[in-house]
Symmetry: D2
């Protein structure tokens, strides 16, 4: 039986790495289906994604263990994962449901391979959406007490931990999560921001875009870091607008961008195409 695996590597650039990796893949009986490498000359770093089929005699864990000495020799950071991958995923949303609805719809009627296990919101507007797609719904409201926000945040944090997740998607979740909630999910929590970052950081980006009079709006999907809107960018796209478009119209047009850009980033993550390097990403094609 033929199985697929993805090896992702980052290490200091040296001659011979490509040959060493390709030789190893051949030695374990693998056949390279796709391979893409990138050398960041300014930083003297080498990055590679190698997708190969193998006989499955060795599990992905065993293959990883087998690769480890080579990785040590070349000072590589690496991951070796199976394909396809169906990560256990929770979606967080607030009142705007287009991104959450799209992810649910793509998973159910399309081809986005998520194992969706929870829809979580600070509002109960999403309950019918969860019902439509037979998805467990968690309403974690912000209460009235003085410490309501902090309480809600720790409830969210505990919920995420308890769900044993591989991936958290912030699908227009409009509350900023504090560092201690975000930290455990580094590289596993994807947010969609409704602007072409780094333009229009923070609240009301379509209002900001309108007031600045730009002719193009955008959306940005990024891994969440502890600085708001500053995490490594995975995908961006833009749309042309004009003076005719008021804030409501920008918001409406922006939804299509947000939906598509978020789905594109999630897909790249699920297919093990993304490598984070500092605050930037390598997204293999």
């Amino acid at each position: 039986m033929n199985l697929s695996a993805v090896l992702r590597i980052s290490c200091p650039d040296k001659p011979g790495i490509v040959a060493a990796v390709a030789t190893w893949v051949a030695a374990v009986g693998g056949n390279i289906v796709h391979a893409e490498q990138h050398t960041d000359i300014a930083d003297a770093m080498f990055f590679q994604r190698v997708e190969f089929t193998h006989t499955g005699v060795d599990s992905v864990d065993a293959l990883s263990a087998g690769f480890a000495p080579l990785a040590a020799h070349w000072e590589m950071a690496f991951t070796l994962d199976a394909l396809p991958w169906k990560p256990r995923t929770a979606i967080l949303c607030s009142k705007q449901l287009h991104c959450a609805a799209d992810l649910l719809s793509r998973t159910t009627y399309g081809d986005l391979g998520l194992d969706l296990v929870a829809l979580i919101s600070n509002h109960d507007d999403a309950a019918p959406l969860a019902t439509s797609f037979a998805m467990p719904f968690h309403h974690v409201a912000v209460g009235d007490k003085a410490d309501a926000r902090a309480t809600q945040e720790s409830q969210i944090g505990e919920l995420l931990q308890s769900l044993d997740l591989d991936l958290v998607i912030l699908a227009r979740y409009m509350l900023v999560l504090p560092s201690e909630i975000v930290a455990p999910w580094t590289g596993r929590m994807i947010n969609i921001h409704h602007s072409f970052l780094p333009a229009f950081i923070g609240a009301n980006p379509y209002r900001q875009a309108h007031d600045r009079g730009v002719k193009v709006i955008g959306a940005t999907a990024h891994y969440v870091s502890d600085v708001l809107d500053e995490g490594p960018i995975v995908a961006q796209d833009v749309a042309h607008i004009s003076h005719r478009d008021d804030v409501a119209e920008l918001t409406r047009q922006g939804r299509d961008l947000e939906t598509v850009v978020l789905a594109r980033a999630v897909r790249a993550h699920v297919e093990h195409r993304v490598l984070v390097f500092g605050n930037r990403t390598v997204v293999f094609g």
Copy 2:
């Protein structure tokens, strides 16, 4: 109370039309919110869309009747419709459900103002989707008999007639409808074709695109006419591809295009932004 109406005009171009129309709107107590005109110099034709608010003393029908003498004087074809408009709409689909799911999702969780009354398919794959959105589902299968296809077509035709529809959307409905079924819906039936028409007319356009080695794929939403893939185009968009994308990947990437382009065309239609002239459209901004 302030109501909105949209006046769409096409007529031979002559000096004075804009003044005459604007004067009439003012005379009936209307205030022009948006107006856009287009003069096709080669054909000496004038087109205009005037969106105005009015007090509602006169109904849209009464306003139409009041405008008729002016229209006759200038040899205008015109329509005068209320805004917002929620057309009674049926969606036809086959096995690929992304466009149908998106239209249902936008109507329920977004802002596409359709009065959806039926999901119709030649396959039963769409039944769960209909259930999710509490939508009546009509499975009109092609049977086994010699005249099965003709029978199915007349069932579709009768079903559409019986539903008292304003709009029919072919959301990747993969059977060609014959002229006699299509004819009653001229200008009220929108199809999405999965290529950048007029390239790759007919079946398997992503296969055709792959084999020709193009670097860009597209999708086209058009009113259905009695010649396949030849009706007036309402919206088109494209995406860049590369040699890495096989037919399956083109198909997958194309889905996002099809979904967005179809929704854009439907929205333009619902907002009374489209005028058909010959086999072309004027789509006001």
Copy 3:
């Protein structure tokens, strides 16, 4: 003989403006070829561009004088200009010549209707380019003395004044001009900035873009105001990039963007399509 003129209007929004303007055009024997209006509902402002042909019995100045009472009645700011317009134009550049070369090439071999009268630079690299296109070249270098920069700036200012210009184009001119030089050219000086403003204001935007790890770069053409990179935006466009593109490659790809975006903005200006309102623009289609 038929001549063309363009009337641009901005005023508080009131019912009846469109009728009044159209009636006036008809009264002076004009025939409206294109008209586009925009109502900014949030600001209750009305904007219109009316392009009309007329017999030329009255000059543009006489038509303006004739329109003035109407304008006063409706509290309009307006301009009335002839079409086509060939503005006396100077181009400023530094060491990067792609935008300047493109503007010269479009004017000579294409269809950009500029009356180019000077190429001005703080470096002498552009001298051969000026020679190729038989264009007077002004090298205004920054000298060695303590006040060298201030001296150079006032030389530039005086040169621009002395040339009796309609339009100044900063085609990758890399020195910031002080307020007193810029002020006389409000609405008549167009700059190209090599980023998608407001992202990456200031120096080395491609370096900034690379370091932030964005997936899209852009270029912005704007009227120059006294705050750097803050003037009203006329045109923007973007291109997709990837991790493979280092700063040099971003710079190279950006050149195509800058060239096309600047030419697009200049064309809109020359065709009297732009209205400035606060720090935003209305760019009629």
Copy 4:
């Protein structure tokens, strides 16, 4: 001294190729800077571009000779070329000069590494352009005699042969060249077609696009084959248009597309990024 070389490979897909190639590069003292591979699974073909630096002890010809046994073993077609490459290039044009002017301008004031040796036209309109850039101009007119066209074609063919060229660029050359003129330049003659091929093959594509009422226009750069507009596509791009754009405006907007798409294709060719496979291309990033 470090030199750069590019190895391009196509062969039947088998396990071990990547390792074999990378091992060979390391063995000759090369360091891989970029490498990209593509496996066409449907055709079971493997394609690779490997860019490596080497010490220059061996010339590119010697490196090629050294690689030949490996190539034979794996049934590879391959080329091994030096970088940078400045191909001896002739540009053919007719009356529309924007593409030719752009290529000259990019070569002189930009960074397109061509060794331009001739501007050739069937009209004399391009003479001043050639003069501006100090380029030899060859006016090969179609005469009045019965066999005038055939005579002109063989003059063109002989001229191209006599110039000892590496590359021929048809920069809006509006006469169709017959097979016998084209055949010697297979894979070395690039044409820009002013439509999104395969839509609107043949004459007047902007007229065709207007009459069909499309909402997007395009341009296509392709290697010239003996069937008109059917050669392998190297680059394509598109622009959104609307009903407002008549044929003249499409033509004008199309010029920017044609210019940029042609330059992009020429650059890919000059950087040894293109592999032709059947009637398709692999264009490495």
